[in-house]
Amino acid sequence: MLAESVVPSPAIAVVGRHNSGKTTIVERAVAELTARGFDVGTVKHHGHVGFDIDVPGKDSWRHRRAGATETWISAPGQIAMIATIPDEAECARIVARMPGHDVVIVEGYRKSGLPTIEVMRAANPHDSKVAETFYQAACDGVPLTCDFVQAARASRREAPAPGSPVDPGKMPTEATVAVVTDIPRAHEAAARYGIPSFDLADTQGLVDFIEKTVVRPRMTVVVQAGGESRRMGRSKATVPFMGRPLIQRLIERVCHAADELVVTTNEPENLAFLRQEYPQMHIRLVRDELDRRGALPGIYTALKNATYDAVAVVACDMVFASPRLVAAEFQELNRTGAAAVVPVNRNGYEPFHAVYRASACLPAVEKRLEKGDARAQAFFDEVEICEFPQSRVLMAEPGGRCFINANTPDDLAFTERLARDEENGFY
């Protein structure tokens, strides 16, 4: 898991009736995903009121008994929180508080709005009945969007057998993206609906499916430290900002969005200290690919050297660069499938606080470089650019100012004052 990540985790819910074997499915899927190197978070939805994670009589339990509404239990290597809330927490809000995982698997929470994996087990009588109804609905061509329990009943013109209620709230719905079952008719129904189905024991197949459709792609964040710095008179990367090299500020900001952190520079030897400073980040220092200076060669170096396909490029003089904005751009890239997500405001594009898809952009970048272009925007006409408007920028980073860059010593002093004010709360 990323340290204090701001990248939202994608989530999927495993749902089914009581005793359908959800926990076993989740347990196996988590073990397999973890074995494949993914970081997995889980949410267990407890349908009934009241549970205790700490043993009655223990200190934390006594805190709560005394009236504390939120209690954290912290130990080396472990942490837990238990809070008293008026209603039930929304699943989305819980997942939102679990950033930085490759995937979050929710057990239960059928109405969370998340995509669901429906579990039906033959040994569970309720599941057999649901599977039968599911199958009939599929045969009748009833869409998943409607209440097909009622629809099936109507088509059969008969009431369900007494004592075997089929809860319409616990049926597959339009949110169902896969079915895990050992009931042949459930497989058949899923096939009719065009939904993949997996055998109960087919953990590999299920995890392949989760990996392909749910697991968050990874992102390389590239901080561009190179450049001539003609107006600064010295390397912008090492110019002191609030007492430390400016690049340290940038790294400490954008690392919260990075699965991999790359610094591109024409003077790697001067930045080798970063590796000692942040050993846990495994920062890669990459020398500029081309001798030519300019924005486009910089982007080329970034895209060429990133391990992952999604590449956020941030200039090291963007004093207020925002990991939340990077994460929002990254989500938009995944959602739209665009070649790049680039903020646009009254100044035009902001190519140095944007996220690019290396596979889609590199050929166009190379082509424009061959033609001698040096502007970042030169290749924008040749790929599908998703423009990220200022309104969305402000949703991600309400304070704005993400694109302010320090070009001169005077800019630096000015941004330093802004940063100090921000630190002191005079926003």
Binding site: R230, R234, S235, T238, P240, N345, N347, R401, N405
Partner: protein, 398 residues
């Protein structure tokens, strides 16, 4: 009383620290695009290492022979001699000049050491190399009663420290030009022989031999004590630590001031030169082409008033008229030291520096004013104020 051996050891250790570096004044430390390499070019022992990529300058102690030529070459005062200091050297030269009836004699160390038995050490001063002598010293001596200045030099071609003669010739030519323009009859000259006035009478040469040795050593020891005291004082005041600052600490000292520029400092030697010239009186209304002063010429049709020239000018010869506003620049040729940082950092290549100045401008403190307010609008796209205002809307100072 320290033994002779102790004294020698002390002198050697001071030899290594004879040149001090004030990095914040170095044009390249201030801006790595500055092309000034005057010190490194003047140094023939590759003792000065300038690394623009990391904005650093340093002296390789193993290579440095302590000739001091680099301190003469450095326009901005980033390199200064400590053994002796410029002021101590001037005072010693002035005293020797008075003892020698108005002829100031400055001898290079190899020459002085060779002729030690033959000359009266009270009537001349010794410098490691004539490259150590700068115009301010010559003009100051002239302004304080010297009638002529003689720089006595050994055979440089055979000298292992033949560092400074080219510099000395330039300095003498520049100093003589200034003396002429300021109406002084004093001239400096480089000679291979001591003036007869400093030669000892032959008959007492032997008798005074030993005395002269001790006198000489005594004066060097005084020098050493003085230098040691200077250093102790600097340490006390925290000045000495400037030679030991880390690159980050040096860069941190180069913060932009409330003027919107890096800190400026006119070198002390320039102050002394201007004071000495003022003491000589009014100059002729002539142009002078020297290595000392400069006249900035800005092509206003190409300038965007970005202000980079003024931001990085080491001495403040070129600066802004109003704080944080570069739409009006002023230039004072008397404070200009021809480091040419302004030319090197100009983004539009619309600024040139002429080495020819009207000496009256220097004497009168006349300032050239460039009104660039009509050009400033072109710079808006690159200043943070412009960008920040557009980015966050409205006035960012609100």
């Amino acid at each position: 009383m320290p033994s002779i051996a102790d004294s020698v050891e002390l002198l050697q250790s001071l030899e290594n620290t004879g040149i001090v570096v004030e990095p914040t004044r170095c044009a390249v430390v201030r801006n790595r695009n500055a092309g000034c390499r005057k010190c490194a070019d003047a140094c023939t022992s590759q003792a000065i290492v300038i690394e623009p990529a990391s904005n650093t300058i340093r002296i390789e102690p193993g290579n440095c022979v302590g000739c001091g030529t680099c301190t003469t070459a450095c326009p901005t005062g980033a390199l200064e001699a400590r053994k002796p200091t410029d002021v101590a050297l001037f005072e010693a030269a002035q005293a020797a000049c008075a003892a020698n009836e108005g002829t100031a004699v400055i001898a290079c160390a190899p020459m002085y050491d060779a002729a030690k038995d033959l000359v009266d050490s009270a009537k001349l001063v010794r410098v490691p190399c004539l490259g150590r002598v700068e115009e301010g010293l010559i003009v100051s001596l002239a302004a304080h009663g010297a009638t002529r200045v003689r720089l006595v030099c050994a055979d440089c071609a055979s000298c292992s420290e033949s560092h400074g003669i080219d510099m000395a010739e330039t300095v003498v030519a520049n100093a003589n030009l200034l003396l002429e323009l300021w109406g002084s009859d004093v001239r400096a000259k480089i000679t291979r022989k001591f003036p007869s006035s400093v030669r000892k009478v032959r008959k007492d040469a032997y008798d005074k031999n030993r005395r002269a040795f001790f006198h000489d050593l005594g004066s060097e020891a005084r020098d050493a004590v003085g230098t040691a005291t200077d250093m102790a004082l600097e340490k006390e005041l925290g000045v000495e630590s400037k030679t030991r600052l880390s690159p980050t600490q040096i860069l941190a000292k180069l913060r932009v001031t409330d003027h919107g520029t890096l800190p400026h400092a006119v070198p002390a030697k320039r102050q002394r030169l201007l004071d000495a010239l003022a003491a000589l009186g009014e100059p002729a209304d002539e142009l002078a082409d020297t290595r000392l002063f400069g006249q900035v010429v800005i092509d206003a049709s190409a300038c965007t008033a970005c202000g980079m020239c003024a931001v990085f000018c080491p001495t403040g010869a070129l600066t802004n008229e109003v704080d944080r506003d570069f739409s009006a620049l002023v230039h004072y040729p008397g404070a200009c030291v021809q480091c040419r940082t302004c030319e090197d950092v100009c983004l539009k290549k619309c600024l040139t520096l002429s080495s020819e100045v009207f000496v009256r401008d220097v004497a009168d403190g006349r300032i050239e004013r460039y009104d660039l307010s009509s050009n400033a609008k072109n710079a808006g796209t690159h200043t943070i104020l412009g960008v920040a205002q557009r980015t966050i809307g409205g006035n960012i100072h609100d």
